[in-house]
Every structure is written in C-alpha cells, then in structure tokens.
C-alpha cells in the first residue's frame, strides 16, 4: 500500500516537473513540412546555379553582373523557405495546442521561443556578414552550425529529442566546411532530409494515436 502511494508520488513529481517547464505542443508534422519546403527551395536554387554555370562559359562579363543578381535570387528563395516553414509550424502548433486544450502562449512557449531565437538570430546576422564580405563558402556551414546550436539550446525547453537533431546538424555543418563545392547538398540534407525523417519519427512517437 505504502509502495503504491510513493510510486504515485514520484510519477506525479516527474509529470509536474516536465509539464511546467517544457512546451510540448510542437508538432512533428511541422518538421516534415519545413523539410519539404527546404528541398523545393534547394531544387530551385540548384536550377539557378546550373543556369549560371552555363552562362559563365558563354560570356564572362555576364558573370560579374549576373552574380549579384543570383545572390539576390538565392536570398529570396531562402527567405521564402524560412517564412513558409515558420508559418506552417505556428499554424500546426496552434492547432495541436487547441486540440489538447493547452495554451499556446504561456511561460513555457515564451521561454522556448527566446532560447531558440537567440542563437538563431545571431547566426542569421553572422550569415549576412559573410554575404557582405563575399565569403560564400562558409555560408552553408554557418547556417547548419548555428541552427544545430539553436536546437541543442532549445531542447531543454521542449522535447529533449530535439537535441539529437541539433547535434546532427552541428556535425553536418562542421563536415561541410571541408567540402565547399557540395554546400547545396549539405544544406538540403540538413534542412530538408533530416527535418523530414526527424518530423516523421517525432510524429510517430508523440502524436499518432493507436487505433
């Protein structure tokens, strides 16, 4: 009898500790969508880059003029991917929170947002500086590394599984520094493929209800 009471106490303590400090309405599907947007964006970017490569062989003056234009186009593609991914994540999370009768904007979600955005915004600014100085070869590694660090940092305030995705991106980013010619492939793997795989895994683990 005593045993049962204490076991119940312990599980209650665990539940209270995690539900009061972690935001758990985040949807795995958001990861799948973000990954799809990233792959679509990468396909468009790859198409633009190969077109640029064929132009380059035709006339070298076009390259200098066209280069800036290309950077702008790539920048807008990245921006579109980001806005779509964040928008979908917010919509799906709101839906999930409503369904579970949880508040979307409480102290746990605020803390998650602050801790996730701080490294991410620093990384974004750093990437813009790289762009400003024309250090393109470091752009993809920096995006992956900062994103990985942001995930690791944020994992304390939501599902701790987020940490593994963070480390994957971090390591991938470091590896990609050694293969500057394959930047787009690394970017697609980190932001596309891993998001989709991880999103499906999270969805199966936390959201799919047994029939």
């Amino acid at each position: 009898m005593e045993n049962e009471k204490y076991l119940r106490d312990l599980s209650e303590i665990k539940k209270m500790m995690s539900s009061s400090s972690r935001f758990i309405s985040f949807s795995g599907l958001a990861g799948v969508f973000a990954g799809c947007y990233a792959i679509l964006g990468a396909l468009v970017a790859g198409f633009l880059l190969s077109e640029q490569a064929s132009n380059m062989s035709k006339a070298s003056e076009v390259m200098i003029f066209g280069d800036n234009n290309l950077v702008n186009q790539l920048f807008y593609i990245a921006l579109a991917v980001l806005v779509l991914a964040i928008g979908t994540a917010i919509a799906l999370t709101t839906y999930k929170a409503k369904r579970n009768n949880q508040k979307i904007w409480d102290s746990t979600s605020k803390r998650l947002l602050i801790n996730f955005s701080a490294p991410l915004i620093a990384g974004g600014i750093f990437c813009l500086v790289l762009l400003q100085n024309g250090m393109m070869q470091l752009l993809v590694p920096s995006m992956l590394i900062f994103y990985g660090l942001a995930l690791i940092h944020a994992s304390k305030y939501t599902y701790s599984d987020l940490k593994s995705l963070g480390y994957t991106n971090l390591v991938l980013g470091l590896i990609s520094t050694q293969f500057p010619d394959y930047g787009l492939y690394f970017w697609t793997a980190g932001f596309g493929l891993f998001h989709i795989l991880y999103g499906i895994w999270m969805y199966n683990k936390y959201e799919r209800k047994p029939e």
């Binding site: 045993n3 312990l10 209650e12 303590i13 209270m16 995690s18 009061s20 400090s21 102290s107």
Partner: protein, 102 residues
C-alpha cells in the same frame, strides 16, 4: 531503515505540496495563476498549502504589481530545494528496499 524514514518529510506529504515544490524546483519562479493551471486545484487549496510551506521556510513569496494588478511570485529557498531532494531520495530508497524484499 530508521534513517530513511527520518528523511521522509511530513511537510511534503501531500499531493498539492509535492506539486508546488516540483514546479518550483524546475522553474526560477511561478506565479499564482501558473500554479493553478499546472496543478488544477482551487485557489484556497493552493493558498493554504503554500502558507504551510512558507512557514517551514521552503518557499519565498514576492508580491508586486504588474500593470497595476497585484501579482504574487513564488520561488524555492535553498533549504526548500535541499530538503525536497532529500525527500525524493528517501522515497526512492524506500521503494528500492521494498522492491528487494518482495
């Protein structure tokens, strides 16, 4: 065995008090509405248990005004954290021992 039972703390031997302490252990602070939402109990219930914990010197209370509305913030004291940890450890040991016996 005697030692273990000595560490089981009567001040925490209640569902609401355990809840309050659990929330405060992992958060820097919590206000009254936070606690009410997480624990799902009535105002009076929280208030009376909080008073008991306060009397023991386990929680600190800070009253302030946010947008001219009164706001009460609770956090644990050092003694509160230490004794709560001891309490949990005692429960775990007790369970382990009973588990071995059966």
């Amino acid at each position: 065995m005697k030692n273990i039972i000595g560490n089981i703390n009567k001040a925490f031997d209640n569902r609401v008090r355990l809840g309050i302490m659990s929330v405060l252990m992992v958060n820097e602070y919590a206000d009254f509405t936070n606690l009410k939402e997480v624990l799902g109990v009535t105002d009076g219930n929280i208030a009376s248990h909080m008073k008991a914990l306060e009397k023991k010197g386990y929680v600190k209370v800070e009253k302030s005004f946010i947008d001219r509305k009164p706001n009460t913030r609770y956090s644990t004291t050092k003694a509160g954290r230490e004794d709560f940890k001891k309490h949990i450890e005692a429960i775990e040991k007790l369970l382990n021992q009973n588990h071995k016996k059966t």
